[in-house]
């Protein structure tokens, strides 16, 4: 009987290794493209809101509005802890749903884990159109 072994050019393991390396080229190329086409740089986002805001706190997607008598203040709805959207107001407190940070109506931290206050946003008022243009951070 002849027991000589045939030389193996490509084992299953080496084939899998080569395949994995070749297939990783596509995601790497994609990542390269994606990282080079980052939108949002250079232009400031803004949101238009009506002047007829309700008294107290109201939520507008990325913005929290606080209206009291003649005073109106806008905050970014992103929690300064990890960026979750704050969407809850109870017992005079704004509450982050992700980790429970709590803020006063004036945006000051009352309870952590957040250590920074809410970001107050600048805005422009257009009395003729009765609307605010609120500028969001990039």
């Amino acid at each position: 009987m002849n027991h000589t072994l045939k030389p193996v050019l490509l084992t299953r393991k080496s084939f899998l290794k080569i395949t994995a390396i070749l297939l990783s080229v596509y995601p790497l190329k994609l990542f390269y493209d994606v990282s080079r086409t980052r939108p949002g740089t250079g232009t400031q986002k803004q949101q238009v809101l009506t002047m007829d805001l309700p008294e107290g706190i109201s939520f507008h997607t990325d913005i929290i509005a606080w209206r009291e008598k003649d005073k109106t203040v806008f905050f970014a709805a992103r929690c300064p802890h990890l960026g979750c959207q704050i969407n809850r107001f109870e017992n005079e407190r704004l509450i982050c749903p992700c980790h429970g940070s709590q803020f006063s109506m004036a945006g000051k931290v009352l309870e952590g884990p957040a250590v920074r206050d809410l970001t107050e946003l600048s805005f422009a008022a257009d009395a003729a159109r009765r609307q605010y243009t609120v500028f969001l951070p990039n």
């Binding site: 899998l16 297939l23 990542f31 509450i95 749903p97």
Partner: protein, 291 residues
């Protein structure tokens, strides 16, 4: 003692490794019809549409979900089994490194699936992950882009979920198990249980704002840590340290290895307690009944 528990199970049922492998394949196959209907540019709308108009889509999505949960659960049990028998020392160094990376990818593939729901919970999960990556000094932003892509698009996460991580995990499983298919019995068990859960507990979407974001079960402990530790960088350092210690287990010997494993087990128990606290004992304002 723990080793004998695993032996008792293995003699009477499929091994946890086989069960995890079967769950992985069921998750991949059930994901195919979903990926056809899923539109990454209109993720939430496309998911709502197929879930509202097709009962089979609801079933396949739930099957995908439950088999995915089973995959992670049985993988974790399989890892504990290996460590209890010290069999990590018998693995080649390169394979051990790939297995640890695949374990990390397993968590990512799970959480990326959670994000791809594109509902309220999914968006918040993405924001938390993005914040955690961004906070890493020097490489944070690049890492975030590499993992999550552009803030306004789910495209890269979708590609990682479908191709990058799934392919890597599949290759490493085949290399580790030295077989392309798990035992038939594992399929029967997993398909039966996953299909039953898919029918009994179908998975929906969280479309309106939730009072409290729980996150997936495997990250509830992490949510607690992020609640307790104000600086997320400290949490990232703790997680990275834990992963590094786990990685070094392969090269540890004797009492050092034993004590390290006991230490990691204690940390796992603590994580479990945090998970239970987050899951069952926190109200909408994050007040806990216990601590």
């Amino acid at each position: 003692m723990p080793g004998s528990i695993f032996n008792f199970w293995n003699l009477r049922c499929s091994t946890f490794g086989n069960l995890a492998f079967a769950a992985f394949i069921i998750a991949v196959v059930s994901g195919i019809p979903l990926s056809i209907a899923y539109d990454v540019e209109r993720a939430s709308d496309s998911l709502q549409l197929i879930l509202l108009t097709s009962q089979s889509a609801v079933f396949f999505r739930s099957l995908h979900y439950w088999s995915g949960q089973a995959f992670l659960l049985f993988t974790l049990i399989h890892v504990i089994e290996h460590l209890s028998k010290n069999s990590e020392r018998g693995l080649k160094e390169g394979l051990w490194l790939r297995l640890v990376l695949a374990l990390l990818f397993a968590f990512f593939v799970m959480v990326s699936g959670f994000i791809l729901k594109a509902d309220v919970e999914g968006r918040m999960a993405r924001q938390i992950l993005s914040g955690l990556l961004e906070i890493i000094p020097m490489v944070g932003t690049e890492l975030r882009i590499a993992v999550l892509g552009n803030a306004d698009s789910l495209k890269l996460i979708y590609i990682h979920h479908l191709i990058t991580t799934t392919l890597f995990i599949g290759i490493v499983i085949i290399e580790h198990m030295r077989r392309a298919w798990p035992e038939l019995l594992s399929y029967v068990y997993l398909l039966g249980v996953s299909a039953m859960l898919a029918v009994l507990i179908p998975q929906g979407l969280q479309l309106s704002g939730a009072a409290k974001i729980r996150g997936p079960w495997y990250f509830m402990g992490l949510q607690e840590l992020l609640h307790w530790i104000p600086n997320p960088l400290v949490v990232m350092v703790l997680l990275t340290g834990g992963l590094l210690i786990f990685l070094l287990l392969r090269w540890m010997k004797g009492a050092g290895s034993g004590w390290t494993k006991k230490g990691l087990f204690v940390l796992l128990v603590v994580y479990g307690v945090l998970t239970i606290n987050n899951w069952g004992f926190r109200d909408a304002n994050w007040n806990s009944l216990f601590f």
